[in-house]
């Protein structure tokens, strides 16, 4: 490309980048800004704070305010549900992808259809009957109910990504295993699983984030301030009188940190994992 044109392009890209960065980051910046604002200044809008204070965070950590009385417990609930979801999705998707990609068995296509269906159908459509079903099993207000829901909806994509990756692995794996006299199970554990670690990390992270970010099912299946995960607790702030917004923003920021950290830690895996499914699907 000609040099002047390239320079023009560079500048255009720079301008665009600045616009995009402002668009992308301003709400985040503002959230953090609010969390550092002292209560008295809360209602004076500004782009910067005169007297930033960490008091909101201190209240949150110390559970020193009726709104955050159960903060740690709620955080723990979010964490527990997310970790269980991650583990179960990884196991189920690993097993399923092994069957789908490496074994030739009769109903493979139906199962792939089921999986796609589950992936696509909006989870909110199933929320009410799901709730009724959980109520029928007396599982309302248990983390198990939420974990089951999260696993159900996160597994299809995980399966998709893993299967796709697995299909690209060389067929010699089973042969190598068979030569050594390994049965299917051994092939699975010793040969297959080690090979799919990269996308496994990706979908594990995906499953964790899926459960961490979930709102509707958490709202329906868990109630009572000691049982709810963080997002539900935060939305309860909204419906009360006197919601201290700076405190709410502090909780929001804390709630946002794990996903962002995970994302950056596993970015490489996550991006390639996410993408593989969609692209290869065409």
């Amino acid at each position: 490309m000609k040099r002047r044109a390239r320079r023009g392009l560079r500048l255009a890209m720079l301008a665009l980048t600045i616009v995009m960065l402002v668009w992308t980051l301003f709400p985040v910046y503002y959230m953090v800004l609010l969390s550092l604002t002292p209560t008295n200044d809360l209602f004076q809008p500004a782009l910067y704070i005169d007297h930033p204070t960490l008091r909101s965070y201190i209240y949150t950590m110390g559970q020193d305010n009726p709104f955050v009385r159960y903060f740690w417990q709620q955080l723990l609930t979010s964490l527990t549900v997310s970790l269980w979801t991650m583990a179960l999705v990884a196991i189920i998707a690993a097993m399923g992808s092994f069957a789908m990609a490496r074994m030739k068995f009769r109903f493979r296509r139906y199962i792939s259809g089921l999986t796609l269906f589950t992936y696509v159908i909006p989870s909110s459509f199933l929320a009410i009957p799901f709730f009724q079903m959980m109520a029928g099993y007396d599982l309302i207000d248990t983390k198990l109910a939420l974990v089951l829901a999260m696993v159900t909806f996160a597994t299809p994509y995980a399966l998709w990504v893993l299967s796709d990756y697995a299909r690209s692995l060389p067929p010699e794996i089973e042969e190598a295993g068979a030569i050594d006299g390994a049965g299917t199970v051994a092939t699975f554990f010793y040969l297959y699983v080690p090979l799919i670690v990269p996308p496994l990390i990706a979908i594990g992270t995906y499953a964790f984030l899926y459960a961490w970010n979930e709102y509707l099912y958490a709202l329906l299946l868990l109630t009572g301030e000691q049982h709810i995960p963080l997002p539900v607790a935060m939305s309860n702030f909204l419906t009360t009188d006197n919601a201290p917004w700076n405190l709410l923003m502090a909780v929001s920021t804390v709630y946002s940190i794990p996903p962002v950290v995970l994302y950056y830690a596993f970015k490489r895996y996550l991006v390639s994992g996410l993408v593989s499914g969609a692209v290869s699907g065409t």
Partner: protein, 472 residues
């Protein structure tokens, strides 16, 4: 390569077969004799602590285990609704929305336990006016009975900043503020004008009337009903039939809607009031962008009382006061509506007798007094013996001996003024009218869509009649 239709159907059939095996709802687990109590989370930790103490005493005395959980009110309403739908209910449920939503609707549907026996036992202690709220129609048995146990109430009051009035050079003593309808509202408008002129930089965004007019806030419904009473209108007759379409009531509705529209368009109500949630008028008041605001509970003064950044409670005792709703345009003294909070026992609960014992235990005089006092005057007790405690007459004492300007006002309203409970008990269709924020929508028609008050009233009444017609 995609799925052919036949394969998809086959898949579904296989799946459905598997589902049939798995999807058998479990039989209800054997009842362990534990009493499951869902209680509304209090606004102050002291309330919850007081309730926990009561529960511990009950457990010790009755040798029964209680599973007590606190839930925020919106969440709890949803939880109760969900439980009643799924028929997996607690034994006792206390939600601040029970009187508006749960008791009328689910009493009608025969999903609540008849507690007339409990009421009968407690009747001598009750403030009679508050009992009606639980006397609802059961459409299965085709008669009325008590389906809830009322315990505490809230009513409408108006809070204002005395120091803002002082700064405007206006009289700030509540006893000296004019109570006649036009003068009353004009008073706050004047405060806004004077202050804005005096210091445009500081008070440029100050508003005199913090009247919630939003379709997202229950405050709007309360404000409307209060104003309607001032204009002498009625929505229902004593049997729960709609009379809103009768000429004198319709005129009152039109006048009320017009009044809401006028104060808004005249620029004395913040433009955002049409989008306020229930907490936003509180926030506006605390941030001193409102001179006054009507609020149907004592949450605003109470928040100031507990404000950690005001240890001498200057705001509570010196800078703020509570005042009554003004006299109507016809000069008659205001009539008040009280929202009476009620405990229910779902019919599907497994421990009805114990549940009743629990409720009776909770409302025993001294115990209940301790609980309700922990709410710092936010609620007024439904029991006359509890209400006789000097706290209600005197409120808190200021650090410099100042008098309480808030709690006694509420007490006066309950004991000395003409008040009645909300009318949801008459017919559950009113609950749905509230669900749909019908009054608020009519107000929004006038303000946002610029309809005439007549047209908006017509639409509102039509919709109400349609809702009522659905209940056969």
């Amino acid at each position: 390569m995609g799925q052919s239709r036949r394969e998809f159907l086959k898949t579904t059939a296989i799946g459905a077969g598997a589902a049939g095996v798995v999807g058998f709802p479990a039989v209800a687990r054997a009842q362990s004799g534990k009493l499951v109590v869902w209680w509304n989370k209090g606004y102050y930790p002291e309330e919850d602590i007081a309730m926990q103490k009561i529960v511990k005493e009950f457990e010790a005395k009755q040798k029964v285990e209680v599973d007590l959980s606190f839930t925020a009110q919106e969440d709890l309403l949803k939880k109760i609704t969900a439980a009643l739908i799924a028929r997996r209910t607690p034994d006792v449920a206390f939600c601040f929305y029970n009187d508006w939503q749960v008791v009328p609707k689910y009493g009608w549907d025969d999903k609540l336990t008849d507690v007339s026996d409990v009421i009968k036992e407690l009747k001598p202690r009750y403030n009679e006016k508050m009992l009606e709220v639980a006397y609802v129609w059961n459409n299965k048995t085709k008669k009325r009975a008590y389906y809830g146990v009322p315990i505490e109430a809230q009513t409408m009051h108006i809070h204002y900043w005395r120091d803002l009035l002082r700064e405007a050079g206006m009289e700030d003593d509540p006893a000296k503020i004019p109570l006649k309808w036009d003068e009353y509202w004009g008073y706050w408008k004047k405060a806004q004008d004077v202050l804005r002129k005096k210091d445009p930089a500081k008070y440029g965004k100050l508003y005199g009337l913090g009247v919630t007019e939003s379709t997202r806030a229950s405050d709007t419904l309360y404000n409307f009903e209060m104003a309607l009473l001032s204009f002498n209108g009625e929505i229902l007759d004593k049997n729960g039939k709609i009379v809103a379409d009768q000429p004198q009531n319709k005129k009152a509705i039109v006048d009320t809607l017009k009044w809401f529209g006028d104060i808004f368009t005249s620029g004395y109500v913040p433009p955002d009031a049409t989008n306020w949630t229930d907490g936003d008028n509180n926030a506006g008041f605390h941030s001193r962008t409102l001179v006054m605001t009507p609020n149907p509970s004592q949450s605003i003064p109470a928040a100031q009382f507990f404000n950690k950044e005001d240890p001498e409670k200057k705001n509570y005792f010196d800078n703020m006061a509570t005042i009554e709703w003004p006299d109507g345009p016809d000069g008659k003294k205001a009539r008040y509506l009280s929202a009476v909070k009620t405990i229910i026992i779902p019919k599907d609960g497994k421990n009805q007798a114990k549940a009743k014992d629990f409720i009776k235990f909770v409302v025993e005089k001294d115990r209940f007094l301790e609980y309700i006092k922990a709410a710092n005057g936010r609620w007024f007790p439904a029991f006359t013996d509890v209400a006789a405690d000097p706290f209600w007459k005197e409120g808190h004492k200021g650090p410099k001996g100042q008098k309480d300007q808030h709690v006694p006002v509420a007490t006066k309203i309950f004991l000395e003024r003409d008040n009645k409970v909300f009318e949801h008990y008459k017919h559950p269709a009113l609950s749905q009218v509230y669900d749909e924020f019908a009054y608020a929508k009519a107000i929004s028609r006038i303000i946002t869509d610029k309809w005439t008050a007549d047209k908006a009233a017509d639409e509102m009444i039509e919709r109400m009649k349609a809702i009522f017609a659905q209940y056969k």
